[in-house]
């Protein structure tokens, strides 16, 4: 469900650009914030707002890696595995997290809590290896730090459930 406030934010953003179509990327970010991924309703909302076809909006939404086409877990963990993180053993970290979460990269835990993804260079090479949880950085990640992070995220998710 895309709220009225979200639709208004999209309209306000579109009004700032000389050509409304430029607001596709910001509008899709808002749609994903509302529904956690890009749904048919999200595509339709953006299309209606900007006077485009759904196919046109979908062609844009499927080009960019930050827009999810399927529901992700509550916490999306993206681990950089480009060259500078590779040099600091991101591969070991990825394997460690795969074992800890019981899933492979690209998958979501059956309870819907965690999605584990790899990502291309996240511009944090000086503090490698690095990951993001829902787009916020966690840097200098050792296996111990990763375990503590998952524990903390688990606590947070359990607290919001109860």
């Amino acid at each position: 469900m895309i709220s009225e406030q979200a639709k208004q934010r999209m309209r306000d953003i579109a009004a700032r650009y000389p050509v409304a179509r430029s607001a596709i990327l910001p509008a899709l970010h808002i749609a994903q914030q509302e529904e956690s991924y890009i749904t048919p309703e999200g595509l339709q909302t953006v299309a209606d707002l900007l006077g485009l076809t759904v196919d046109d909006v979908e062609s844009v939404a499927t080009f960019y890696t930050m827009y999810y086409q399927r529901p992700p877990g509550k916490k999306v963990i993206k681990i950089c595995n480009s060259i500078s993180c590779y040099l600091r053993d991101c591969d070991g970290l990825i394997e460690h997290l795969e074992a800890r979460l019981g899933i492979k990269r690209g998958e979501t835990t059956p309870d819907g809590k965690f999605t584990l993804l790899t990502a291309e260079c996240l511009a944090s090479c000086g503090t490698a290896p690095v990951l993001q949880v829902n787009d916020e950085f966690v840097e200098n990640v050792t296996p111990e730090k990763a375990d503590a992070l998952i524990n903390e995220l688990d606590r947070e998710l359990n607290a919001t459930r109860s």
């Binding site: 179509r21 890696t65 930050m66 480009s82 060259i83 040099l87 260079c121 503090t127």
Partner: protein, 440 residues
């Protein structure tokens, strides 16, 4: 004390706020520009400064500004904050820590180029950086530093912070414009160049984040002052992002022309190779460019010297490889990046990045053949200079250098089915099994 220009005061608590930024001299350059200079005068100062683009191509900034088409169409500025070149993390630091310096540079650049709307295109993955820059822009609007009749002058400007959504190709200037206009990030044919036909078909100037963030200092202290640092054709200072197998990775602002050795080994910078190991190779300008071997350590870090040494200064992303690194494995990891990021528009890059990655993957995992090595070089030759945009060239940079400088490692993989050095050399050699076609 080395001169810090673009990272000056970056660690002052609160420097990301307008108040503290102003306390440290912020926005004085803007006041000076509006009071004492015509727009063309600012362009002249930047030409005098000799600053070259800090994104990767190193094009002279003042010259680029002077290319803007002289017609009545509204002009736009795009600030390229789509920092995605592997090994590079300098723009993120500027945006997160001292966003007002970028914003002041945006206003100054817009004034100089008679721009009416400035778009700050920030890669989507840098959520904090985007929040910091957006907040700085709002603070500037509130103080009359952006908007109508800035500081009482007749210069008006709108600034829009535009977040990307995950695409390295959108750091290429024409793909950035496509993305900004709300389309898939496919590069455009050039000519026409952005200075003539850019965003929405209007004259557009596109500059890197660090380049724009340097403009306030140039205006404040003068182009001649900035040009007094650095070498003859590479003026000023730049931020180098040091990563990989060094003791102290991080961002370091250096005067142009200091030797590569200083950045890697000096105690106030990289502090030498980690774990007591030796240096094997270094990529000086981001993963789009070739390796340099230790014999090139005395190369001055300036655009022309690094090119003469066989690589490029590029984005300033200095990636260091120790003597336990398998170059074939490193090349594979680099190639995977370009394969994943290729936009798919043109055949040489779309097919070539996949093909190269497959071949190096086979070599790395013990199923490669000797003839694959020359085939790889042939594929590189069919991509480089023959792709629609520079991503194709970038995809071949490290591999071409890797094969030229470390051919024996590739041959070792073909002959013995495992790495010549590093942990991979302990693997048992792959059996000479028949690989069914299509199996991975």
């Amino acid at each position: 004390m080395p001169e810090l220009i673009v990272t000056k005061d970056i660690d002052v608590p609160g420097i990301d706020t307008l108040e503290v930024y102003r306390q440290h001299g912020g926005y004085q350059a803007l006041e000076k520009a509006l009071k004492e200079f015509e727009p063309e005068g600012i362009v002249e100062e930047v030409k005098k400064a000799g600053i070259r683009g800090r994104g990767g191509a190193g094009f002279p900034t003042g010259l680029k500004w002077s290319f803007l088409a002289k017609n009545d169409k509204p002009r736009y500025l795009c600030v390229n904050c789509d920092e995605s070149e592997p090994g590079t993390f300098k723009d993120r630091a500027l945006m997160e820590k001292i966003p007002h310096r970028l914003v002041e540079g945006v206003i100054l650049t817009s004034y100089a180029c008679r721009v009416s709307i400035a778009f700050i295109y920030i890669r989507g993955e840098l959520a904090l950086a985007a929040r910091q820059v957006e907040r700085a822009v709002q603070e500037a609007y509130a103080e009359g530093l952006i908007g109508k009749n800035i500081l009482g002058s007749n210069f008006s400007l709108e600034v829009i912070v535009h977040r990307g959504a995950g695409a390295y190709i959108c750091g290429e200037e024409s793909a950035l414009m496509e993305s900004l206009e709300g389309r898939r990030g496919y590069p455009r044919l050039k000519p026409p160049f952005p200075a003539a036909v850019g965003v929405y078909g209007n004259p557009t100037v596109i500059n890197n984040c660090e380049t724009v963030a340097t403009i306030p200092a140039i205006v404040q202290n003068g182009g001649a002052w900035y040009g007094s640092f650095g070498t003859e054709k590479s003026k000023g200072t730049r931020v180098f992002s040091l990563s990989g197998h060094v003791n102290k990775p991080g961002n370091y602002e250096l005067v142009m022309g200091l030797p590569l050795r200083t950045l890697i080994y000096d105690e106030q910078y990289g502090g030498g190779i980690w774990k007591g190991r030796e240096l094997k190779a270094v990529i000086p300008g981001g993963s789009s460019f070739s390796f340099l071997k230790p014999d090139k350590l005395d190369t001055p870090l300036d655009f022309d010297a690094v090119m003469a040494a066989g690589s490029a200064l590029g984005s300033g992303g200095v990636i260091v490889f120790d003597d336990q690194t398998c170059i074939v494995a490193a090349c594979l990891r680099i190639l995977e990046f370009y394969r994943d990021e290729s936009c798919g528009k043109c055949t040489p890059c779309r097919e070539g990045t996949y093909w190269m990655t497959e071949l190096v993957e086979r070599l790395e995992h013990g199923h490669g053949k000797m003839k694959d090595i020359d085939l790889l070089l042939d594929i590189c030759d069919n991509i480089s200079g023959k792709s629609f945009c520079p991503l194709g060239d970038a995809a071949t940079g490290a591999l071409t250098g890797g094969v030229k400088l470390f051919r024996e490692e590739f041959e070792y993989h073909a002959l013995h089915g495992r790495c010549m050095v590093g942990p991979g050399s302990q693997r048992p050699a792959a059996q000479n099994t028949t690989q069914p076609a299509g199996a991975r």
